[in-house]
């Protein structure tokens, strides 16, 4: 009955049957902030091809010969917090884990082909995702070569020994980056800055990536399953605890990285 006013005679007037304020503003809004952007083109004698996509590119359609196909369906990207919640991480593991830590784990994993879950688990157990922790001086503050250093608490003495035994190598890594200059100065004789730092207890001053890559090499060198690698990264008296912890959360870490890497 009121089709001339868009079936809304109270809000709309239509003296000539052609005007609507809502349509005007809606049209202007859509012109400047369109939800869906479309265009079409022709090629030789083929029927017109139309392409349309939502303004966040989450949906893409292609039309041809009267038919329309969706080539990308809407899949809202999950946030870091979404993946933490979905995976079931909780307590301190959830509260200390950051997107920066997840990204570093992915970087280490891509270099060394070590599972992300194993790296995240180990890092949390060793240093609760801190990038520049203080060393564990093992009661030998005056002897940095006996310290456990960096985010993954690599022991300088044993790492040098396993490298000498050919179980790991330093290819592509520099020792001052892996251990930090406090524990391994480039050359204390010529590098005055490193020499000043040498042996001074303080936060890790190397590269978390390099430290993590050497940790990954040592994890890989243990061989076997991820559980075995996780357990063997711990010293003897702590292994039963480490095995139990891995069995509780190893799967959860896998779930997190499945979510985070497949958004």
């Amino acid at each position: 009955m009121y089709a001339y006013a868009g079936n809304d005679p109270i809000n709309r007037i239509d003296p000539d049957g052609l005007f609507s304020w809502g349509a005007l503003f809606g049209g202007l809004f859509r012109a400047f902030f369109p939800q869906k952007i479309s265009f079409s083109f022709t090629y030789k004698s083929l029927p017109p091809i139309s392409v349309s996509f939502s303004n966040n590119f989450s949906n893409i359609f292609v039309g041809f010969a009267g038919a329309e196909f969706q080539v990308k369906a809407s899949n809202p990207q999950k946030s870091f917090a979404d993946c933490v919640n979905e995976s079931g991480l909780k307590g301190e593991q959830a509260s200390t884990f950051t997107q920066q830590a997840a990204d570093l784990v992915n970087q280490i994993s891509s270099f060394e082909n070590t599972s992300q879950a194993l790296l995240a688990f180990t890092w949390y157990e060793e240093n609760r995702f801190r990038m520049n922790p203080n060393p564990n001086d093992n009661g030998k503050r005056d002897n940095p070569t006996k310290w456990d250093v960096g985010p993954f608490h690599i022991n300088v003495y044993w790492t040098e020994r396993v490298a000498a035994a050919g179980q790991v190598n330093f290819n592509g890594l520099s020792k001052p980056e892996v251990y930090g200059a406090r524990a391994y100065p480039i050359d204390p004789e010529v590098d005055a800055f490193a020499a000043k730092l040498y042996g001074k207890y303080g936060p890790f001053d190397g590269s978390p990536l390099a430290n993590g890559r050497m940790a990954a090499r040592r994890l890989n060198a243990a061989g076997g399953s991820d559980e075995n690698k996780a357990v063997m990264y711990a010293p003897g008296p702590s292994r039963a605890y480490r095995r139990n912890a891995w069995r509780q959360v190893g799967g959860i870490w896998n779930k997190f990285f499945n979510c985070w890497n497949n958004r």
Binding site: E92, R128, N138, W158
Partner: protein, 229 residues
């Protein structure tokens, strides 16, 4: 002239010999002490002034009884720890064995028994593979001309009651050990125990432990008695 030189050399040599012999004779009662020290410390050569002191012992070249850690493990086995040059290592990586590196970390001297004689508080670090450590502390006194062990204790790795601090206050041994709970990561214990060991005339008696909060983010080692931290 040549003959005079030879006579001079002979006289000097004879004087030197008589001084050494005199020293041995005059210190006859101390020779036993030196002997016992030398048995345990093959490379040590205590100075005559310190023969009666515990400070004459060379703890870098010394045989220690095996140490039991807080978790009940005897490290690195039931054999004595034989430090030479301050170090000992067992286990061969190339044979697939897990090594342990043991080294002298600290020696400090205090009168812990109230007899005005000093005791030595000696700490060894057992560097575990692939990282982490256990610290074993021994208290020796010099009685009956031999070093006598009064006390030993193995402090676990950081996650299992690791040593936080060792100090001596008013002749009492003060010990702080981290406590680990399964809800926290290996690195970062939130609590520690503080307790005293006091000599009762026969042995060190453990005092009542006090649980305190660790103010640091991790299992920071606070030092040995001589560190003055």
């Amino acid at each position: 002239m040549r003959m005079a030189s030879i006579i001079m050399v002979l006289v000097i040599a004879a004087m030197g010999f008589s001084c050494t012999a005199g020293s041995v004779i005059n210190n006859q009662s101390k020779s036993q002490i030196v002997k016992s020290v030398e048995n345990n410390s093959p490379n040590s050569s205590p100075s005559p002034q310190l023969e009666k002191s515990i400070r004459a012992l060379d703890f870098a070249n010394f045989n220690y009884p095996p140490c039991r850690s807080s978790e009940g493990r005897i490290l690195p086995g039931s054999k004595d720890i034989i430090l030479r040059g301050g170090e000992m290592e067992v286990g061969d990586l190339r044979k697939g064995e897990e090594p342990v590196n043991i080294s002298l970390s600290n020696v400090s001297y205090h009168d812990l028994t109230g007899d005005t004689q000093e005791e030595a508080v000696v700490s060894l670090t057992y560097l575990l593979y692939p990282h982490g450590s256990i610290i074993c502390t021994y208290i020796y006194t010099l009685g009956d001309s031999n070093p006598q062990l009064l006390w030993k204790h193995g402090f676990g790795s950081a996650a299992f009651g690791g040593l936080r601090k060792l100090s001596v206050e008013n002749g009492v041994l003060l010990v702080e050990e981290y406590i680990h709970s399964d809800s926290e990561p290996y690195c970062c214990p939130k609590k520690f125990l503080r307790l005293f060991y006091k000599w009762d005339g026969k042995r060190f008696q453990k005092g009542k432990p006090e649980t305190l909060t660790n103010e640091y983010e991790d299992a920071k080692f606070m030092g040995y008695p001589s560190d003055n931290l």
